[in-house]
């Protein structure tokens, strides 16, 4: 497991890296995370980033902006980004506020995300 402040990064094989945000994570300051995260993903030779939302009960505009920034950074780095384990209530609330398609893929869980083409 690799630590970037505010999140756990775990290589789970076949170029997939699982990102689990921790309690100290602050989505309001993306610049504090994007560069160290990009470095860590490159070192791990990641081809797919699985962002675990299991413990994220609400995705507000701030959190969505963070996810979008991360997706943009992944795209530039040649890494596909998949958010996993979004709760039904979170998906529901987010769908009501979203204006466009999200810039990342979604999967029900980690296994589904790994098997995406």
């Amino acid at each position: 497991m690799t630590m970037v402040r505010g999140m756990h990064l775990t290589p789970i094989g076949e170029g997939c890296v699982l990102l689990e945000p921790t309690d100290g994570f602050d989505p309001g300051d993306p610049d504090a995370y994007l560069i160290p995260l990009a470095g860590a993903l490159q070192r791990m030779r990641a081809r797919r980033l699985l962002y675990d939302l299991k413990n994220v009960p609400v995705i507000d505009s701030l959190y969505f902006a963070w996810l979008s920034s991360l997706a943009a950074m992944c795209r530039i780095s040649g890494i596909s980004m998949v958010v996993v384990s979004m709760r039904p209530a979170t998906a529901y609330a987010l769908a009501l506020t979203m204006k466009d398609q999200p810039p990342f893929d979604c999967a029900l869980d980690v296994n589904r995300a790994r098997s995406l083409p």
């Binding site: 958010v83 039904p88 998906a91 769908a95 398609q101 029900l108």
Partner: protein, 299 residues
């Protein structure tokens, strides 16, 4: 002039006491009258049995006497008054449950009041002031009771309408797992915000529970589409996508397709098929499932 010749002790009695005395001297007649009228109203339509009518009549008289005995003035916060209101609540609820209507019940309450008024007229010992006070007392108590019954009736009606709406919501959007990982959601009628909310909640919970990969949303039963309905549909499809499942929209009739194009609604990100069966074929294709007849591939 009997009314002016009343004794001084009689004049000093409170309105409640006078009414109690009147009731006590004529309790048999009053009770009989109330029972008889109750049988006419509720017995003929089989809403209550004769025993029930008699029980209710006696209970009413008992509670009314208790209320009058509780003090010189009617205390609307007192337990006796609450007990009388509760009695009428239960009574009216029972009548409603058995299919009776409010009009009959209100007429019955009016009749109860009338019985007291007739007795009042017949009593020559009461002075004008006393008669007036008793009339006011009866009017105030019975008016409150009628108002209560009316509120209960409205509340009960509202509860029934809400329950029917809830039931309709569930029956008009049944979510079915038609294949492993494939859910179908036929939408019939129109999609307003409240229904969208309920459908989305159920659908997302089912995606998680059944681990669905594809949701086929069939709008064959949607009669008309406007920008609001299409907006709700797009929200639903997005929510399905956020849960990691794929949404397929089927059953877009020509009129609906025309409405969508006129409204400039962009459904380019949505996978659409003309019929539910085409949608299912698409779902199977996404899952890598092929359906074959026993003699060969199914076309």
């Amino acid at each position: 002039m009997a009314r002016s010749a009343k004794p001084a002790a009689e004049a000093a009695k409170s309105t409640n006491q006078l009414l109690i005395e009147q009731m006590m001297t004529k309790v048999a007649t009053i009770s009989q009258d109330i029972e008889k009228r109750g049988q006419n109203i509720f017995g003929q339509s089989n809403l209550l049995t004769i025993d029930e009518i008699n029980d209710y009549s006696l209970e009413f008289l008992e509670l009314f006497v208790l209320l009058l005995q509780a003090g010189e003035r009617i205390d609307r916060r007192g337990s006796e008054y609450k007990a009388l209101r509760q009695f009428f609540s239960n009574f009216s609820q029972q009548i409603q449950i058995r299919g009776g209507n409010l009009e009959e019940f209100v007429r019955y309450i009016h009749f109860m009041q009338d019985i007291f008024l007739h007795n009042l007229e017949a009593d020559a010992t009461l002075g004008f002031q006393q008669t007036r006070e008793i009339l006011l007392l009866l009017a105030s108590v019975f008016n409150d009771i009628i108002l209560d019954v009316f509120h209960i009736y409205l509340a009960e009606k509202e509860r029934t309408i809400q329950a029917q709406q809830e039931e309709l919501k569930h029956t008009s959007t049944p979510i079915t797992e038609i294949w492993d990982g494939v859910l179908t959601l036929p939408i019939i009628g129109t999609l307003d915000s409240s229904r969208t909310m309920s459908v989305m909640e159920n659908m997302l919970a089912r995606i998680e529970k059944d681990r669905a990969r594809v949701v086929v949303i069939d709008v064959t039963g949607v009669q008309a589409i406007d920008s609001q309905v299409s907006h709700h549909l797009i929200q639903m499809i997005r929510a399905v996508g956020l849960m990691g499942a794929k949404a397929i929209l089927t059953g877009i009739r020509p009129e609906i397709a025309r409405a969508i194009t006129s409204l400039n609604i962009d459904l380019s990100m949505v996978s659409t098929r003309s019929t539910l069966s085409e949608g299912l074929k698409e779902a199977f294709a996404l899952l890598g499932v092929s359906v074959q007849t026993a003699s060969g591939p199914h076309h």
